[in-house]
Amino acid sequence: MSSSSTSIMDNLFQRSLEDLIKGFRLQLLGESNFISRALEEIRREIKVTDLSTKSTALHKLSYLAALHGVDMSWAAFHAVEVVSSPRFQHKRIGYQAITQSFHEQTSVLLLITNQVRKDLNSANEYEVSLALECLSRIGTHDLARDLTPEVFTLLGSSKAFVKKKAIGVVLRVFEKYPDAVKVCFKRLVENLESSDPQILSAVVGVFCELATRDPGSCLPLAPELYKVLVDSRNNWVLIKVLKIFAKLASVEPRLGKKVAEPICEHMRRTVAKSLVFECIRTVVSSLSDHEAAVKLAVAKIREFLVEDDPNLKYLGLNALSIVAPKHLWAVLENKEAVVKALSDEDPNVKLEALHLLMAMVNEDNVLDISRILMNYALKSDPLFCNEIIFSVLSACSRNAYEIIVDFDWYVSLLGEMARIPHCQRGEEIEHQLIDIGMRVRDARPQLVRVSWALLIDPALLGNLFLHPILSAAAWVSGEYVEFCKNPYETVEALLQPRTGLLPPSIRAVYIHSAFKVLVFCLRSYFSAEESTLSFSAQEFSSASSSMNAFTYESILNLVNVIELGLVPLSGTHDVEVQERTKNVLGFIVMIKQDLSEKLNLQDSETEVFRVTAFMEDVFSEELGPVSATAQEKVCVPGGLELKENLGDLEEICGEFLKPVESDSVSYTDKISFSVSKLRIRGQQEASSSTSPPHEASSLLAEHRKRHGMYYLPSQKDDPESNGNDYPLANELANEISPDPFNPKKNPNKSKQRPVVVKLEEGDESRNPPQAKSNIETVNDDESLSRAIQSALLVKNKGKEKDTNPNSEQQKQEESSRIEDHQNSEKKKKKKKKKKNGESSSKHKSRGRNEVASASEQVIIPDYLL
């Protein structure tokens, strides 16, 4: 009695959801305080036995969970209790709470099976609808399995309201419990001929989803779907059917020919933009071989592009980018609209336009497009500016700079990019500057010029995002110092006091580059000396050609400048900087004495001469590009277990170190050595036998001989010749005949494209990781598609049995089924008969076929095409 009286009190004085909402708007406590009070109240009320109090509490809780992110998983059991109420309004609240909060792991899920079954069988169609909705959202394997019979019954319901919801649920049931396909599939297919647009829409929606998962399994339904495509005037249905055909056509190209015409028909006829767009998308993505259809689609795209509606503009650009890879003309035709869209106020439209513009880029127009884009980048907001820079960088570097002919121009462009105020793509530019240096020998002089300009630009040092570019510029000036006009100035730039703004790692690159410049200067000074002694003055002048001759004073001056710049750095905290500094200073100490003592350094026995020669050898190795897959090409030596759990090894190793193991350890040492070599110095591969063996390079050659397997195979193929030997540019010129049909518009074109070193394979493109995940999802859906296939196979078997006696005639009729479906009254009757025969034969054949057919591929009958 007492408990029931408190329940009455609760019931009478309980705050309803409306009270709660009102309270929320008037509350002065602060939101979180108010929520925790309300929760307290709900926790108390929800425990009461009275179902209306309980359901109101649950209702309030769902509200808080939906809009304020309150956890409601603790009330799962109460939701089950409320659902079991006989009253509709309680049930509704209960089901809503369940759909909102239950997931696969909810433990009380097991308790609702019977309740859901009861409601699915209810005479009240609204209760059935609640249960169906719930199932569509939270259905698990068990629920789907247990309730398949009920869903099957409802699929045949006479009430359209229930039937369409049952169809909506089927997808979830199939997904969770593929065996349900055997039971329900036939009823589902029958509904494709329904005259009720809602039912048709629902069933087409299901097939659309099934086709997305596994197009092959829906292929046999092509005739039925084709009929819908031609007959239906309901845009919702048509959009879905188009989606299905887009999927089907991708696995069965012959289908494209059949559907292209009706799709064009819809495109011409309809005024609904959503349908037009779906037609366009279907054509450009799946029917891109059907010229007439593509032409019409592109015409429609153009209509979209000139509209004021930003949605249509965006979608038009979007469709263009789908069509671009196969039909570039479509983009070129709309070039003006695309360029105009670049200055659109909507960032989405701008981005889409940018992607399109990049799709258009080729050898001939890369200069123009890049110029346009750089201008846009200068005046865009930072985000879009960097998007532009990134697009240009990735388009130009695609496939080892495929579209770049004039590398001098491109290198200058990279330099320009660094000067765009918003530029944040430093790392990408850094990578390309170095990459071009390594790959394109002919671009090096310009590269050095650009780097020099970057190094002396005072504005760049202060910008954090541009530091990587400076690092590349410093490296280039050191590595390719032979193209440098004035090494002295380079050294000054590298050691300028403002380099203190750089992070230590980049500073180290600066110092090391200065070292390279110094060695180069010394070396050229000595060789000049040598030649003056051994040759006549005339020959000397030609030998030193473009190089400024170094005088004794200038060398001494250079050494002093470097020493002066570096001495303060020898006490830096950063080890990398300190070490580099010490290296250079140590070298200077070694040479300085000789240098200051002897004016005449022609004696090759002097310390300074030997040291310089040695250092030059060290730096003379040319770096080449490293394949992205280089690491993978290092095969694991036998006896090296990488996947084994090393924890077990401890037991054995703990006692004594076996000789075998020590062997393998040294093996790994060697690997890491050679790999790090590969990484740091690029391939210092094989100075090879053709060049005179220097000290350092002969060591390398030795190393290569011993560990050839760890070097890139591109050199392995041909160990005799030097791996880094560039074919001369004019050698290649003989192979490429100039295109007589292409009038040379710009002067740059007359320039021969320099040789770009390209590794055999796996250089740029690596297999995208999606491929793998795709396979996995296929596996996930495999059981479902197998079930559908077997269901369809059974269906076709039935047909065949029926058609067997007069198969020839039947076949013809079938083929005309698509052609003239309008006057097919007679055939419809025949088909009905067929269906009957089918269902009887189905029962006979199912048991037999189930297993065998599972693996069989469904073959689309030829007559459909």
């Binding site: 029931s4 019931n11 809009l67 309004q89 809503q96 809602q198």
Partner: protein, 170 residues
């Protein structure tokens, strides 16, 4: 966050957010944990509320597309897959708004605040498992009013004095 599995087809979720960033309705057709839900709402309302008025109604977001449309002070957002039809979803949103309008009689934000559950029930008649199930406004209105009536009758019964007495003396 990329580990989200989108089980549902069609629409993954529906959000109603006010111009001030208050959430007015959420409906999830794909499984999201409660924490993820709050994060998604925060992220998306940040993106969408900051977009200017004359821009297109689509936003790319985590590899999906969010189609949104503003009606008065409310933003209606629906999340779909890349290959879904944006214009169709815009039509669904408009459809929903029209039904709400018909049901409440020129709907305003306050109607949805106080009848938040009704907005849910209407959405449930419109979409099932993220797919459009009813394209006739009249039918939805009829179904909803029939269910309302069912509830009204039951409510009257329940709140009658005799019923309360019967309960108390149970």
């Amino acid at each position: 966050m990329t580990c989200l599995i989108m089980l549902a087809s069609g629409i993954h979720f529906v959000l109603l957010v006010s111009r001030q960033g208050k959430v007015r309705l959420t409906k999830w057709y794909s499984p999201y944990a409660q924490k993820e839900r709050s994060k998604v709402i925060r992220e998306l309302s940040g993106v969408i509320l900051n977009r200017g008025p004359k821009l297109c109604n689509f936003v790319e977001w985590r590899g999906y597309k969010v189609v949104y449309k503003r009606y008065a002070s409310l933003y209606f957002c629906m999340c779909i897959d890349q290959e879904d039809n944006e214009l169709e979803v815009l039509e669904i949103i408009h459809h929903y708004v029209e039904i709400l309008d018909r049901y409440f009689g020129s709907v305003c934000e306050l109607d949805l605040i106080f009848n938040f559950h009704k907005a849910y029930y209407i959405l449930d008649e419109l979409l099932i498992a993220g797919e459009l199930q009813e394209s006739s406004k009249k039918t939805v209105a009829r179904i909803i009013s029939a269910q309302d009536q069912l509830v009204e009758v039951a409510k009257e019964e329940a709140s009658s004095i005799s019923n309360i007495i019967a309960q108390a003396t149970k």
